[in-house]
């Protein structure tokens, strides 16, 4: 077994136990139900802002988009306005597709080398990472948005609509929200890639497995509460409303499973800004994607563009004057 995933797996398990035992054994409801969630949200917000401000504080000296299609040049040559945008509209569309449809990941191919008579390198369309990533992110988004039911009263229409759509297949009782199992399965898929794909396994650190196990833990405890155990949903809502209105309230009947779930969510929030999960913010600022390829048409300004010593024509001519004259090349000074 590999400690790169055993350690994070154990850590997530212990974190859950900590909250469960802390509540069930020691009665630390206030710690796990009030104090830590508040701290986690604060850490998330402050950390996120610090990180984004840090990025924004760095200069963008050059306009360096990765161009993935035909440039704007002659009027009769068709430009790829999305993959090689020359206007901010084009950049906007490119970013929309990047952020909402993972366009670059969609291009993914799998290379294979066949050592035989033809010795051919082949590239096949590899869509599973794209599908898995898309399923994971959208399921997570839906789950997150659905949870706003716990923080709003009355529950807004959009959240109710989302719940309706999420539960549209109408299976089971309570009705199955498809986003839950999709999230769990997609996360398990991403995890299995990390473990079983030799290349991905080689590049993976504990820091890559930890958020996956954390999210698996969150999804699993959430699903357990909704479908397999009887949790005091009224009590939970009282508690979450208390948190969001800054009138914390600890209900009697809510048990350790919920506090375990909440604690894992808190850990995820607090961990977010100091980890690779910040790709959520960073993708918006990536200079190879969010800039137009129009540097030849409109000058881009580098805020720290300093003067540098150069070898001038005069120095050059001084160095080579005789040879230039002899070769019949024009010179500025004859001697």
């Amino acid at each position: 077994m590999n400690q790169r995933y055993l350690i994070p797996l154990t850590a997530v398990f212990l974190l859950f136990l900590l909250a469960y035992a802390g509540v069930e054994g020691l009665g630390l409801q206030v710690v796990f139900g009030v104090l830590i969630p508040y701290l986690a949200i604060a850490a998330f917000l402050i950390g996120f802002v610090i990180k984004v401000k840090g990025w924004a504080a760095s200069a963008v000296p050059f306009r360096i988009p990765t161009t993935c299609g035909q440039q704007k040049s002659l009027p009769w040559i068709k430009q790829n306005t999305i993959d090689n945008p020359s206007t901010s509209t084009g950049v906007f569309v490119r970013m929309l597709l990047e952020i909402f449809a993972f366009r670059s990941l969609f291009r993914n191919t799998k290379a294979a080398f066949n050592r035989n008579e033809s010795n051919k390198l082949t590239y096949s369309f590899e869509i599973f990472l794209w599908v898995g990533a898309l399923a994971f992110h959208y399921a997570f988004l839906v789950v997150l948005l659905r949870h706003f039911r716990f923080f709003t009263a009355p529950v807004p229409g959009v959240i109710q609509l989302l719940e309706y759509l999420d539960g549209i297949i109408q299976v089971g009782l309570p009705g199955l929200f498809i986003s839950g199992p999709v999230l769990l399965l997609a996360t398990l898929f991403l995890l299995s890639r990390r473990i079983f794909d030799a290349k991905v396994s080689y590049i993976s650190q504990a820091a890559d497995y930890f958020p996956l196990f954390l999210i698996i833990g969150i999804a699993a405890t959430g699903i357990a509460m909704r479908y397999f155990t009887n949790v005091d949903i009224i009590g939970i809502k009282e508690m979450t409303m208390g948190l969001v209105t800054f009138h914390p309230h600890i209900p009697e009947e809510v048990g350790g499973l919920f506090y375990g779930h909440l604690f894992l969510v808190s850990i995820l929030f607090a961990y977010f800004p100091i980890s690779k999960l910040m790709h959520m913010g960073g993708v918006f600022l990536s200079p190879t994607r969010n800039m137009a390829n129009n540097t030849r048409a409109q000058r881009h300004i580098n805020p720290w563009n300093y003067d540098v010593p150069i070898h001038t024509y005069e120095q050059y001519e001084d160095h080579f004057r005789d040879k230039m004259i002899e070769a019949g090349l024009p010179v500025d000074k004859k001697e």
């Binding site: 990765t66 440039q71 020359s86 990941l105 590049i203 010593p309």
Partner: protein, 552 residues
């Protein structure tokens, strides 16, 4: 290459599953020797070349030696260097922070596909630097390094000598081609990381000679190859004689002509070595034609006689110092605008850096082709036009008389050079030029052209002799696609618009796909273009019989 690997031996070595025998189980563990291996690395920069530009720590050193003769405070220099660049380059800071190691880039790199070395996966190449960044600059890294084993959890490590050597080895196994960046969901560009990585290495005088010496030459003599002004003229004179033999027309160019319409700048490689020289003859023929027919006055310059910019492979500052000559010379000569020849990284520099670094070029005019009236709006600020844009415009307006039959013996495919493809998007202009002067044209498979094109394996200053195993391994994906169209359509000519390609791809073809020639787009133009008053041509620019002539 007698003592080098044969193609079969090279192919036997390819294995895309991370090696376990010689590699450590965890890539964070560097081996003592870092396995810097002959055939895979370039020789260290000669101190004289480093001194020309006054770059730091010029000295004799050898990559395979234990002692790299580093300054005592080298770790501090690097730490400060990283810190400064995190502030100067948002790209760097973002790319250090947001990689999720999804692995989408892993098998997109030609060096990985050719060597199977896991550290040639773009993600790991970047992680070499990221692991240091995490340790020294991130909250999590600073926290976790206090806990035993904490660094392992995050994948961070200290700036050790072994880690430095590894960075040196692998940042000089990247050609800054940006193919991985096309596939990255966040656009993380390994070229950017390599550029900054090399810039950091240069703070310690750790350049390679195949970059440092061209840079030194370019700075003082005007071009990478160190061709002095009189010799530059001699070489062009020699081409003029050849062209006269072939066509009967004298194509003598202008040098440093004040008040000419256009300044033309191309990589010195086109002047220096076959088959680039034939492309150079193509330019001379084109300019003669335009002069005779339309009175267009183009001048060359021996001072600005280098289109390429190996400073780009050294540091942003060095790039700026070399590039400055283009505008300086255009200003001195009082031309209207600048025309640039066929080159790869040259065009990334011009397209994405030049105006920002050395502009504004307010002493030049917005480029207008006086023959067609076309205003090059896309170059309105830099005032520099790519010769393929220029020629395509001329052809489209019917301004060039082309005889396609003179290229009838060429069954062509086209290799998109990395930088014009992914740092510019010059894709259809060269294709239009090719298909306007030749009939037999076949594309390579879609996954290997346009924005997904594969590097020649020798770009970004790695076109040396001593790293031939690396270069041939890196060229494998390109060669494999060439071989495919060679077998399927009988392709015998690989067209390209990059001087490094013209230097590197013939070696690649000889090694992987014999029977395929490398040819510049403007060599094809030069063959097809009917000069006013020319004699009946019997030979192409390579002085080989024209199609149809050999039977007579």
């Amino acid at each position: 290459m007698a003592d080098e690997l044969t193609p079969d031996e090279a192919l036997d070595k390819i294995d895309y599953s991370p090696r376990s025998s010689s590699e450590p189980r965890n890539w964070l563990d560097t081996t003592k020797s870092v396995q810097i291996r002959p055939g895979m690395y370039c020789y260290a920069a000669k101190p004289e070349s480093v001194e020309t530009l006054g770059l730091p720590y010029a000295r004799n050193w050898n990559p395979t030696d234990e002692d790299w003769k580093l300054p005592d405070n080298w770790q501090e220099i690097l730490h400060e260097g990283i810190k400064e660049r995190l502030e100067r380059f948002r790209s760097f800071k973002i790319f250090m922070d947001i990689c999720v190691r999804c692995g989408a880039c892993a098998d997109k790199c030609h060096f990985f596909l050719g060597t199977g070395d896991p550290k040639n996966m773009p993600v790991l190449r970047a992680e070499l630097l990221r692991s240091i960044y995490r340790n020294d600059f991130t909250f999590a890294g600073k926290l976790l390094k206090k806990i035993p084993g904490g660094k392992r959890l995050l994948g961070s490590r200290e700036m050790s000598l072994e880690a430095l050597k590894e960075m040196w080895y692998y940042f000089f196994q990247c050609t800054e081609c940006r193919r991985c960046s096309v596939f990255c969901p966040y656009g993380i560009d390994t070229a950017e990381i390599t550029i900054i990585g090399r810039e950091l290495l240069n703070l310690l005088g750790l350049n390679i000679d195949w970059i440092a010496t061209p840079v030194s030459n370019c700075y003082q003599t005007g071009n990478h190859l160190g061709i002095q002004p009189h010799a530059f003229k001699d070489m062009l004179d020699f081409f003029v004689e050849d062209i006269e033999d072939i066509t009967g027309v004298d194509c003598t160019p202008n040098y440093q002509k004040k008040g000419a319409d256009i300044l033309f700048i191309t990589p010195s490689g086109d002047v220096f070595a076959d088959p680039g020289t034939y492309t150079c003859q193509g330019y001379l023929i084109l300019f003669k034609y335009l002069k005779e027919k339309y009175g267009l006055d183009v001048t060359w310059s021996t001072y600005a006689s280098e289109g390429g910019n190996f400073g780009f492979f050294t540091s942003h500052e060095t790039m700026k110092r070399l590039n400055a000559k283009m505008y300086a010379e255009a200003k001195r000569l009082g031309v209207k605008w600048i025309l640039g020849g066929e080159c790869g990284h040259m065009w990334r520099v011009i397209n994405q850096y030049m105006d920002t670094m050395n502009g504004p070029a307010d002493f030049l005019e917005v480029p207008v082709n006086p023959i067609t009236g076309t205003r090059f709006e896309n170059a309105a600020s830099t005032k520099m036009v790519h010769i393929c844009e220029f020629t395509a415009d001329l052809i489209k307006h019917g301004k060039l008389e082309l005889d396609k039959s003179r290229n009838a013996n060429r069954v062509l495919t086209y290799h998109d050079s990395c930088n014009p493809a992914r740092g510019m998007g010059l894709l259809d202009e060269p294709r239009y030029c090719i298909t306007s002067c030749a009939d037999n044209f076949y594309e390579m498979p879609l996954n290997t052209i346009r924005e997904q094109t594969f590097c020649c394996g020798s770009g970004a200053g790695l076109n040396a002799g001593e790293n031939i195993e690396l270069r041939m391994a890196g060229a494998l994906p390109r060669a494999n696609a060439v071989k495919y169209v060679h077998n399927k359509f009988g392709v015998n000519s690989l067209a390209t618009i990059c001087a490094i390609d013209r230097a590197a791809l013939p070696t690649m073809c000889e090694y992987w796909v014999p029977e395929v020639d490398v040819i510049g787009v403007h060599e094809l133009i030069g063959n097809a273009l009917i000069l006013p008053g020319e004699k009946e041509r019997t030979e192409d620019l390579r002085m080989e019989p024209l199609p149809g002539v050999e039977e007579e």
